[in-house]
């Protein structure tokens, strides 16, 4: 039974450079040819990969970006349907498989989907509309200008005859695809900007929506795995004798480490007839681990080191003006140090994937944020071509950045290859908690000065945290310029600035967690700004206003104006300055990230250590809002997640391994703690649309910290507020 899985292709492949996408949350401009590949060979009309209209008018739209609850598989197809003048009730949305040539970049993170895809998707729909109109014009032998597309049909404006899209599909399919179709004006939108219901809600409330963990295949086996607990460690030996005699166990296998950023740390897996047997079997294994070079990692000591590194001069990354002089000349001076802990994404659906590998085929069904990352990683694992790895993108039961990396898919593939059957691998919650790509722990130190006129003129910002780039290049010892870009470009526009990086060697895998580094930028900058206002005897709102109004950096004019607008709007919504009973306070924060702007006013009550959030007012500028209800839900989710990591959640390490295991010691927020009221309003809708999956997350925790202080509570400078409590 103890067969050892070995695979000669498990060698490191040097694609680290090419796969280091979006480090530090940089937005990458994307252009790729659209409309070169049609949806399929079936009859009907398929001018590009995004849409198909059958001869009976049934319309299918594909979403190339991955759905994990953020609503993208409604928002983008609705934009296609709008430009296509399709009837939404005739539309079915399908999730596209991984396919670079058809769908362009599919990695779903960095709040980039709307930013990058809205215009190409609108063009795809508009191209379809123009072709259907051209087909109708040809049928009636009249100019296209005298035909009008509306709600799944084209009308002959001379005589009011109509032809349905289904009737027109075959003829339209023979016509040339316009390269530059005319897009609708905003007044013509029917779905964009409307609170259209998500396409899959009814399936969710009846239990029919299937996720990565729900895939069933003929002859399928179920896997469970126990991972090497320390990064860089290994399996010394294992004893599976406790499983002897258990019915329904197929195999016990060692999964070797696959040295790839998205590979696997390795471990021991049990494959069985059902998940219960696999999970129980894995629990019974006696495994002797080799800890490896990171076996002494301990979070509290490490964070104390980071604090030392930021409270002493670091490596200069950026400088403008003469910050030392400006600090020395300041009338009001302040310094502060801010610390944050590791976080686990802990989506409700643990890491799960099904894989079926044969000698000539590899097919994968995965909850994922990056199907092309899977293709790349599994091609390297198996020594096959990327296009031969078929990846079906399943609905993810939450992801928050974790399902960008596909270690769980790597393992499912290895197990399927070994047992020569399809395998569904679902990690136990304990493995999910302990085998993460964690949000980085961090320390920041800020020194700043106001001049005699009360203007913020000097800012020194040091940051130390193990960066995500360490995943791709283990020789990285500190955050680099790309990972500090958001503080370099923070729209305060201060005249004298220096940004420094402190040493922070990674001892665990660091990954993208919803809002990534902006969680710590938003926290430190906003709490510090409120402290600075207090020291200067100013209202924090007035300080924000004067900072943004005085931002003279020509590259930041728009960012400063939009930041000012959301902070003013949130203040208005939350009745900033109103008188409150003792023990209650208002806190304010504003943050610009992922091309969007959010500000919040939090109304909180404290009774000793007991903190209650009574109301949250969120002002958001993400440009034109595609779907106000889905967008508001993203902000509500950001508040709930932010409240959880402000109050409590932190992943802690001892002896190189994670101490936490399940919800009892990683206590995410429950319903009784959710604020009674979360108001969300959108402004700035004349700007182009930008993403909102992440931008709300950094803003809540500092607003709450400021509210607690205003309520007479302590000044919290760490996340969670009471670290180690």
């Amino acid at each position: 039974m103890n067969s050892l899985l070995s695979n000669t292709s498990l060698n490191r492949r040097d694609f680290l450079k090419s796969s280091g996408l979006a480090l530090g949350g940089l937005t990458i401009a994307v252009s790729f040819p659209l409309g070169t590949l049609a949806a399929g060979d079936e009859a009907g009309f398929a001018p590009n990969a995004w849409l198909h209209i059958a001869e009976n008018g049934d319309t299918t739209l594909w979403c190339g970006r991955c759905e994990m609850g953020q609503g993208i598989s409604t928002a983008l197809p609705a934009a296609v349907a709008d430009e296509l003048e399709a009837d939404w009730s005739r539309v079915k949305v399908l999730q596209a498989d991984g396919h670079k040539d058809k769908y362009g970049p599919q990695g779903t993170g960095g709040s980039r989907s709307i930013n990058e895809m809205l215009e190409p998707m609108r063009k795809a729909g508009a191209a379809g509309r123009e072709m259907l109109v051209a087909a109708a014009a040809q049928s009636w032998a009249i100019p296209a200008a005298e035909c009008k597309a509306h709600n799944h049909q084209v009308t002959n404006t001379r005589d009011n005859r109509v032809m349905g899209y289904g009737e027109l599909a075959s003829l339209a399919a023979t016509l040339p695809v316009p390269a530059d179709p005319t897009l609708k004006t905003r007044e013509q939108f029917r779905y964009i900007g409307k609170p259209l219901q998500r396409h899959d809600q009814a399936e969710i409330v009846t239990g029919e929506r299937t996720y990565g963990a729900d895939v069933k295949l003929p002859g399928m086996k179920y896997g469970a795995v126990r991972h090497v607990p320390v990064m860089g460690g290994s399996v010394k030996s294992f004893d599976a004798s406790a499983l002897e005699g258990m019915q329904g166990i197929t195999a016990v296998l060692e999964i070797p480490r696959f040295e790839d950023p998205y590979g696997t740390v390795g471990g021991v897996a049990v494959v069985a007839d059902n998940s219960w047997l696999a999970l129980e079997g894995a629990k019974k294994l006696q495994i002797d681990w080799e800890a490896g070079p990171h076996g002494s990692y301990e979070t509290e000591a490490y964070k104390a080191e980071l604090v030392k590194h930021v409270e002493a001069p670091g490596e200069k990354v950026f400088e403008r003006g003469t910050p030392d002089q400006a600090l020395a000349d300041g009338t009001v001076r302040l310094s502060g140090t801010y610390v944050g802990g590791h976080l686990s994404h802990s989506p409700m659906e643990p890491m799960a994937s099904a894989a079926w590998v044969t000698d000539d085929r590899c097919e994968i069904w995965a909850s994922t944020q990056d199907p092309q990352g899977i293709q790349r990683t599994i091609a390297a694992l198996l020594g096959r071509e990327e296009q031969d790895i078929i990846v079906h993108v399943m609905m993810a039961g939450g992801a928050f950045g974790r399902k960008f990396q596909c270690d769980y898919v790597t393992e499912a593939v290895a197990l399927s290859q070994a047992v020569k059957a399809p395998v569904q691998l679902t990690w136990s919650r304990e493995e999910d908690t302990r085998t993460g790509y964690y949000h980085s722990c961090s320390a920041q130190h800020i020194e700043a000065a106001l001049d005699k006129d009360g203007q913020l003129t000097a800012w020194l910002h040091r940051a130390a945290f193990p960066p995500i780039s360490s995943l791709f290049n283990p020789t990285v010892t500190r955050p680099g310029e790309g990972e500090l870009v958001r503080i370099i470009k923070h729209p305060y526009g201060i005249e004298h600035v220096r940004i420094e990086s402190g040493e922070a060697i990674a001892h665990t895998r660091i990954g993208w967690y919803r809002a990534v580094y902006d969680i710590f930028w938003g926290f430190a900058i906003n709490v510090f700004t409120n402290e600075l206002a207090e020291k200067a005897g100013k209202d924090p709102l007035d300080l924000y206003r004067s900072i943004y109004a005085n931002n003279k950096d020509p590259e930041q004019v728009e960012a400063a104006q939009r930041s000012l607008a959301v902070v003013n709007k949130a203040a208005e919504m939350g009745s900033w300055g109103k008188t409150l009973p003792a023990g209650q306070g208002l806190g304010i924060a504003v943050h610009h990230s992922y091309n969007s702007y959010t500000a919040m006013v939090v109304h909180a009550e404290r009774d000793g250590d007991n903190i209650k959030v009574l109301r949250v007012d969120c002002a958001v500028d993400c440009g034109l809002v595609l779907n106000p209800d889905i967008a508001a839900a993203q902000m509500e989710g950001a508040v709930i997640m932010g409240l959880g990591f402000a109050l409590r959640t932190e992943v802690r390490f001892k002896d190189g391994a994670v101490i936490n295991s399940n919800f009892h010691d990683y206590p995410v927020l429950r319903i009784q703690e959710a604020p009674p009221v979360i108001n969300v309003e959108f402004i700035g809708q004349d700007y182009r649309s930008t993403g909102l999956g992440e931008p709300g997350v950094p803003t809540f925790a500092p607003a709450l910290a400021n509210a607690i202080y205003a309520a007479g509570g302590p000044r919290y400078r760490s996340l969670p507020f009471k670290a180690g409590a």
Partner: protein
């Protein structure tokens, strides 16, 4: 004891070890995947089903506990998605990723069957065992109040 369970109205023989958790019998044997595995320790409520109308965490309930009884899963809560909670969930656009929502709805159904007019505090008491990571709690609260209202009017 007979190992027959009535699942969503259908008599089903549970030809599996008696200690197998009901969750995995539903998901892996019967392929009723609407009931979810979240945390495996009765900590998150994603696996909530009803046994004889009582909400249980199926991840820690042995299949034998359901022998001779009636089990309702999300697939059997209504035949056509017309349970007042399902309608209220749609009206409030509750789900984001949706993975926890079957468990949320089954817990809420148990609450409303015993307390047709719950206060917000009573909703919290009944629902605190159901975790949502997307943060849909505010809408869950509203949806339960809406469903209670519509059941009163019905």
């Amino acid at each position: 004891m007979s190992n027959t369970i009535t699942i969503n109205g259908q008599d089903t023989v549970a030809d599996v070890p008696a200690e197998m958790p009901l969750l995995w019998f539903l998901r892996d044997t019967l392929e009723l995947t609407g009931t979810k595995y979240g945390w495996g320790m009765a900590l998150c409520g994603a696996c909530t089903v009803h046994i004889d109308g009582e909400a249980v965490r199926s991840c820690v309930t042995p299949v034998s506990a359901a022998f001779g009884k009636s089990v309702t899963t999300i697939e059997g809560l209504s035949t056509d998605g017309s349970h007042p909670l399902q309608i209220a969930w749609l009206k409030n656009n509750v789900p984001q990723c949706g993975y926890c929502q079957a468990g949320q709805i089954m817990s809420a159904a148990d609450l409303l069957s015993k307390n047709p007019d719950p206060s917000v505090d009573e909703i919290h008491a009944a629902m605190q065992g159901n975790i949502c990571r997307c943060g849909t709690y505010v809408r869950i609260r509203s949806a339960i109040l809406d469903a209670a209202q519509s059941m009163k009017e019905a």
